[in-house]
Symmetry: D4
Subunit: 212 residues, 8 copies
C-alpha cells in the first residue's frame, strides 16, 4: 500500500463468492487478484456490478480491479529458463507494468543454450535495466549463472517445474539459496508477485531516493 501497490489478494483457497465479496467491499480503490485461473475468473465476473472495471491476464493468472496511479518508475529485466516458467514471469511483469515500471523480457534461455543467454544479457544491459528477476525451474541454475555474468542485483524466482526428487521447485529453490555467486536473493516457489513487490520497493529507492 505504502509503495503504492494496491491490496493484493491470493485467490487460492477462496471461493468465487468470497472473492466477489472482497472486490465489492473494496470500493473503488484498486485491487489485484493473483493465481486466478480463467474459469474461476469467469464465475467472479458474473457476480460483479456492471460498472466494475476489471482486466484479466490469462497467462499470468492475474485480475486487476479498478484504477490506480502509476507511481513507480524504473526498468526491470525478466528472464526465464524455459517456456513452462512463463506464467510466473508474467505475474511479475503484469504487476510491475501496472505500477508504471518498464519491463524487458527474455523468455526461454536456459543454461542448456548458454550462448543465446550471453547475447540476450548484453541487450538487457544496453537497455539500462536496473534490476533482474530471473525465473527458473528444474535445477534452478539460471539465476546463479546470470549473477556470475552481470553486475546487477538478481532476484531469483524458483518455479514448480520438474518432477521426481527435487521436483515442484524444491531443487530450484535450494539451488538458489545455495548459490555460490554472491548477491542472489530468493522468493518462494512460483511467487512472481513477491519478486515484483520487492522490485518495486527497490526501484522507489533507486529512482526517488531519500538522501542517506
Amino acid at each position: 500500500v505504502r509503495t503504492g501497490i494496491p491490496e493484493v489478494v491470493l485467490s487460492i483457497g477462496k471461493s468465487p463468492e468470497k472473492i466477489a465479496k472482497i472486490i465489492k467491499a473494496c470500493g473503488n480503490k484498486g485491487l489485484i487478484i493473483t493465481r486466478l485461473n480463467e474459469s474461476k475468473y469467469k464465475k467472479i465476473v458474473t457476480k460483479l456490478p456492471k460498472n466494475c472495471e476489471v482486466r484479466y491476464y490469462k497467462e499470468g493468472r492475474v485480475m486487476i480491479v479498478g484504477k490506480h496511479e502509476k507511481v513507480v518508475e524504473g526498468h526491470v529485466g525478466i528472464i526465464t529458463g524455459g517456456t513452462a516458467d512463463i506464467p510466473v514471469a508474467e505475474e511479475a511483469k503484469i504487476i510491475l507494468e501496472e505500477m508504471g515500471c518498464k519491463v524487458s523480457m527474455v523468455y526461454d534461455v536456459g543454461i542448456a543454450g548458454i550462448h543465446r543467454l550471453f547475447r540476450y544479457l548484453r541487450k538487457l544491459i544496453k537497455k539500462n535495466v536496473q534490476l533482474l528477476i530471473v525465473v527458473a525451474g528444474m535445477e534452478g541454475a539460471l539465476p546463479s549463472v546470470v549473477a556470475g555474468l552481470v553486475d546487477l542485483p538478481v532476484i531469483a524466482v524458483p518455479t514448480s517445474v520438474g518432477y521426481g526428487a527435487g521436483g515442484k521447485g524444491i531443487a530450484a529453490l535450494l539451488s538458489m539459496l545455495q548459490s555460490c555467486v554472491p548477491g542472489v536473493v530468493v522468493v518462494n516457489i512460483d511467487n512472481g508477485f513477491g519478486a515484483a513487490a520487492f522490485a518495486l520497493k527497490i526501484l522507489k529507492q533507486i529512482n526517488s531516493p531519500s538522501s542517506p
Copy 2:
C-alpha cells in the same frame, strides 16, 4: 568483484594450510574470509608472511586480508531478533563497512517486545537508511512484521537459532519464504555475507544509478 567486492572465501571445510595458501596466491588484491572461528584464524596467521596485512573480527567470524578501495556509498539498517543472531548480523555489517557503506544496527528487538521495535524503526527511518537487513532465528517472524510497518526493501536472513522441529533455522527460513507481507526476499540460513553482497549491488544502483 565487479561490484568492487574482493573475492570471498568460505572457510568451512578448508584446512588452515589451504586457506593460507589461497591468501598467499591472492597477492595484494583484497580477500575476505568468512565463517572463520578464532582458533582456526590463529593457525592461519602463523603461516602467513610477516608483512601480510590482516584484520580479524571475532564476533562476525570474518578475516580481511589486504587493502581495497571503499567503493560503495549508502546506508543500511541491520536489525536482529535476539542476541544469538548477532554473529550473522556482524558478518553482514563488516562486509558492508569494508566496502564503504554506513551501517546502523538495532540488535535484540524480537517480536516478544514489539513496542521497542516501533521505537527503533522510527529512528532508523529518520536516519534515512535505504534498505533493511533483518536477521532472525526461531519463528523468523521479525522480517514480516518489519516489512508490514516500514516501506523499505527488506532482505530477510534466517539464522540457525532454535532447537526441535523447525530448528537450525528451518522454521525461520520457511516463514520468511511464506511471508504474507509483500516485498520480503530471503537468503539462506546464516548467510549474512549473501545479504550484504546483494545490498551492495542495490546500493550501487541507488547511489550511482544508470539512467533507465
Copy 3:
C-alpha cells in the same frame, strides 16, 4: 465425552454410507461430524431417518446430530490472519458454541496490518475473553505477535494456507512451535476442532474449578 463433548467423527476417508450408519448406531446421543463438505453432507442426509435432528454449517464444514446439553461456560476469542483461515476458525467456533461457550471473533487481521490488530485485541480484552485461539496460515506469525501483546493463554492453529516451500501449513506449524514468545501451544494444521476441545477442558477448570 467426559467434558460433555459428544463423540466427534472425522469424515475424511469415510463414505456417506459409513457415516450414515455411524449416525444411526449412535441413537439419540449427540454426535459431531467434522470436515464434511456440502455435497457429502447432502448424500448423508438422504440416508437418515426423517426424524433425525441435524444442523449443517457450510463454512465450518461441521454437521451436528441430535441434542446435547450446553455444559461449559466461558468466553473465548478467536482471531484469524486471513480470510482463507476462516473455515478452520468456524470449525472451532461452532463446537465451542454448541457446548455453551461464548465466542468473540476477529477475522482477517494478519501481521501485514498490525495496527488494526492492536485495536481488535484491546476490544477482546475489554470483553473479558479468557482464552485466545489464533488461526493463521502462510508464515504463521500471528499467534506469536498476539502472545507478545496480550497476557492470555494462546492456542495456535496453523492452517494449510500457502504454496511452495513451507506451504500447506508447514511453515505456519513450525513457526508456532518455534515461537520466541513464551506460552504458545499448538494443535495440528487445520485442527480447529482440537483447539476447541482443549479450550473446553480449560474453561471447565476455569469456570467450575476443583479446589487445588
Copy 4:
C-alpha cells in the same frame, strides 16, 4: 513478564561471557536461564559479582538469578514416560515452582506398563491437580493415552529421546499432533519451559479469573 514470569534466556548458542553480561545488565529483576549445562554454568558464575544471588538446578539445566515474587497459584501434575525424559520435565517443574505453583510428579510410567499408569493417575486426580503436563519421547503415545483416561487439559511435550527414523523427538511430536484423543495441545520437542509458561497463563485464569 506480564504473567509475572521473569525474562527467560535460552543459553544455547550464547557464550558464558555473553550470558554473564546479560545477567549483569538485568539488574536485580529476576532472570531465568534454561538449557544450561553444568560446566557452562560454572564459567558464568566466575564472571558474576559476589552478591549476585543465583541457584542452579543440574538435572533441569536451569539457572535462576535474583528474587521474584511467587505470584501464580495452582497445582500441576507432570508425568514422564521414561527416565530419559526427566530433564525436560524438571525444567517445567522448576519454573512452575519458582512462580509459586504446586507440582506433583510421576516419573517413568510409560505405556509399556500401563497398569502402573492407572494407579498414578488416580492419585493425581485425588490431589486435585488442575492441569497435566505429559512428557514423552520415542513413540510419544503417553499424552494420548492419558488424555483418553482423564478429563483434565493435557499439554504434551515431546522429547528428543529415540534413534533411527522418527528419532530425536520427531515421531513423538507428530504422534502428539495426530492424537486421536480430543484436547491435547503440543509444544516443541524438549520445550519444558514452553509448557510451564503456558500452564502459568492458564492457572492465572483458573485461580484468579476475570469474570466472563
Copy 5:
C-alpha cells in the same frame, strides 16, 4: 508362492487392460489383485472370458481369480483403531482367509476408549489367537499399547489416516518404529497384504514347524 500364496498383483498404476492381460496370461493358477477399486474392477471383468472364476471384495479392494488350495492353518487376531482403518484390515483378512487361516476381528477400539480394548483383548486371548495384526492411523499408538498388554507377536500396520503434519500415515509409521514396547514389527503404510503374507510365513512355522 512357496508359502502357497498365489501371485499377488498390485493394481496401482496398471490399466484395466493390462490387468486383464495378466489374468489371462496366468492360466488357471490362482491370482490375487490388491488395491483395486470397484469401478476398475468392473472394467476388468468385462475383458475376461466368461468362465473365468473371480470374487471381488469391495471394502478390502481385493479381487481373487481362480482356485487355490487352503494350505495354511492357524488363527490370527486383527484389531483396528478406527473405522477408517477397516479397508486395510479387510485386505489382510481376505488374504489370510483365502489361504485357510481363521481370523478374529476387533474393529474400532482406539486408545481413546482404552477400557473397551481390554475387554476385547481378553476375548482374543481366550480364543487362542497366535498372532496379532494391529492396524492404526493418526498417532499410531494402538500396536504399542496392545503389545504392552498382551504377550503375543504384534505386526503393526500404519494406515494413511490423518491430515496435517504426520498425516497420510507418517506419524503412525514413525510411532510404530519408535515403539518403546519390545516386540513390535512394522510393514509399510496401508500394506495389509504385507502383514498377511508375513503372518502366513509365521503360521506355517508355528503349525507345521520344522524341528530345530
Copy 6:
C-alpha cells in the same frame, strides 16, 4: 517381561550414574542394557556393588546384569550385508542366546557377491533355522533378496551404514518397507534388540504353541 525377557534399558541419553542407580534399584531380577559403549560401561561398573554379576559384550554394546532363566527354545539365522552391520547383528544375537535360543550367523554376504549368499542360505536351511533376521545398511536390498529365495519369515533390520542421501539407514529402511517380495517386516534403524524381542515372541508360539 511376560516372554521372559528381563527389563531392557536403552543407555542412550542416560548418565553412568543414572544407569548404575537403575541397576541397583532392580535388585536381583535380570536386566539388559543396550547401546552401551565400552568407556561408559567401565564407569558404570565402578559404581556397582562388588557382588553384582555383570557381563559385557563389546562388539554388540550390551551389558547383562544378573541371572535369568533360559526360557525360549528355537533356532534363528542372522545374516548381515557388510562388516559394518555386525554390531547391530551382535546385539540381536546376544539377546537371543541369553534367552536360550540357538543362533546361526552369516556375516558380510551382501548382494555384491550374491553367489556366496546362495551357498550360505542353503546351509542355514539345512540347519533348520525357523526364522531369519537380516541386517543391512546402504541400499538395504539384502532382506528382499533373501525373502525371494527362502520360504522363512524375514525380519529386516536396517543399519545406519551409508553416507550422503539416504545415508544413516534411511535408504535401507525405506527399501525394506517398499520390498516387492511379500513377507518382510521391519524394525527401526539399528534396532537389533527389537528384532530379537519379536523373534522371541514368535519362537515361543512356534515351540510352545497354544492350540488354535
Copy 7:
C-alpha cells in the same frame, strides 16, 4: 543436439496450444515430446498442419515430430523390475531406437524371482549389449543386483511405483544412490529420457571413439 539428439520437449505443465506452437516454430528439424498422454496428444494433432509428420507411442507417452538421421550405433539392454515400470522403459527405448540404436528388452524380472533374472542376463550378454539401463520402482534393488552379476555399466532409473513411506520412487532412488555395488549411476525418478540421452553419449564414445 550435438549428439544428434533432436530437441526434446517435456510436455508437463504446457498446454496443447503451447506445444503445437513449439512444434510449428521448430520447422522441419526433428522434435521429441515426452510425458505426453494420449488425450493431450490428440488435442495437439488437431492444431498441426496436415503435412506435419508425427508418430505417437502410447505406452511410452512419446511423440516424435519430423525426420532425423539415425546417427548413433550400438546395442543397449533395458531391464525392468515390474510391469508398472514399463512406460518409463519404453520412453528410453523409443528414444534410443529413434537415434539408430539397437535395444533388447527384458521386462518384469524383479528380485522376487531372481532365477529368471539370471537366465535373461545371460541372454543379454550373449547378444553383446554394451550398456544396461535398469528400471525399477518400490525398493529399487534390481540395478544393484544386476550390477553385482554382470560387468557392464549400469544406468539405474527409479520409477514412481510404490505407495506409503518411500513411495513415488523415493525408496528406489535412495537405494540406487546407496548401492553397495560399485559402478551404478542414477538419473531422476521416471526419467527414462535422461537415461537414454546419457546412453547415447556413451555409445558415441564406444562406437566412434576419439583416440585418447
Copy 8:
C-alpha cells in the same frame, strides 16, 4: 572385481582393528580403502606386518594395499567447482590412476567465473578426454553447465559443501538430478569412488569394446 577393480572397503564405521584384520585376511590381492583420515590410517599401519605394501593419499583419503595390474585404458577429465570439492575429486582420480587410466584435472572453476571454465573445457577436449567427472557442491550447477557446452558423457558428483537449507550436498544432488541438460547421470553425495568405478566400466567398453 571383474572390471579389474580390487575390492574396495569403505572405512566409515569400522575400527582400525577391524580394517587391519580385513587387510591381513585379504592376502596379496590388492585392496583399496576409502574415506580414511590420516590419524586412522596411522593406527592401521602399526597393526600391519612389516612387508605389507601400502600407499596413502592424504587429500583423497585413500589407502592402497598391495599390487594390482593396471588394466583399464582411457582418459578421463575431472572438473571441480571449488577448492572444497577437491578431496572427492582426488578420491576418483586416485582410483582411476591406480587402474591405469590417464586423468586430466581442472580444479576450482565454478560458475561464478564462467569464462575461465570455457578456456579449460577447450583444453580438455583438445586432449581427447573421453568422459567427464564433474564435482560440485553448493548449488551444484556446474555439471549442467558443462554438459550444455561439451558433447561428452558427464558423471556428476555432488559434494557435501554448503550450509543451511540444501546444505551438505542436498541442493547439489537435487540440482543434478533435475538437470535440464540431457545426458547427466549422478552418483551419491561425496561418492568420488562410485564415479570412478562407473567410469572404469565405460572405459573398458570404449577402449576394448565387444562388437555389438
